[in-house]
């Protein structure tokens, strides 16, 4: 019974997601849905593309977004990596001591 219920839920969620992205009938929030390959103006990406080579001096615009415009975000990512490494090492150290 539980498995049938879970399968029905998965089918319902999948149908809802596919219906949403293929018909644009149910927009996520108030965000205007982009069709694939559509041209975009007045977006933050267009603004960054126009200004990034002069402001940061990097030829790769993705780099200037990662460490220039969103530096705090990447600092958090590095912190997550550090926490994961410390977690793995800690788990296996206590493990070895108990044997």
């Amino acid at each position: 019974m539980q498995r049938v219920l879970a399968l029905g839920m998965v089918l319902a969620i999948g149908a809802l997601l596919v219906f949403t992205v293929s018909t644009n009938l149910l927009p996520f929030g108030s965000f205007p849905m982009r069709k694939i390959g559509e041209n975009f103006e007045n977006s933050i990406g267009q603004h960054i593309l126009e200004n990034a080579p002069q402001q940061t001096g990097a030829a790769n615009v993705v780099t200037s977004v990662v460490w220039g415009y969103r530096g705090y975000d990447t600092l958090g990512e590095v912190t997550v990596l550090f926490a994961a490494v410390v977690g793995v090492v800690t788990i296996f150290r206590t493990f070895r001591r108990r044997e």
């Binding site: 839920m9 969620i13 999948g14 596919v18 975009f40 969103r70 990512e77 994961a84 977690g87």
Partner: protein, 119 residues
């Protein structure tokens, strides 16, 4: 009807199916990877522009920066996905370590049997 979006959402549904109905901890982690792949595909497809170039200044574009800005794809979803991949591999390492630990402790990989206490 955009085929990329449909496949991305089908991958998310597939990962959700694996997370809800499989009874093996390593299979659950595989489902997590599939779900994350679907979300990455959705985000990258959202930033694509038809006939666009990659968001890297190269070649003769050094002297034509406005033309570069009019033709390149959106760099913001790519930066977000780059962060997401790093966090995904961290989650994977930690989850696999906990799986090995749980197998040593309980002797099984079935998540519904992990409830009982040892000793």
């Amino acid at each position: 009807m955009d085929f990329n979006y449909v496949i991305a959402m089908l991958l998310v549904a597939l990962g959700l199916y694996c997370l809800l109905l499989k009874r093996n901890l390593i299979k659950l982690i595989i489902g997590l990877v599939v779900l994350t792949d679907g979300i990455h595909l959705f985000l990258i497809s959202l930033g694509y522009r038809l006939g666009g170039t990659a968001a890297i200044v190269s070649g003769e574009m050094f002297s034509d920066l406005p033309g570069f800005a009019a033709h390149a794809v959106d760099p913001v979803p790519q930066a977000l996905v780059l962060t997401s991949i790093v966090i995904n591999i961290c989650i994977l390492a930690l989850a696999l370590s906990l799986t090995i630990y749980a197998y040593r402790h309980y002797g099984t990989l079935d998540p519904s049997k992990l409830r009982r206490l040892k000793e």
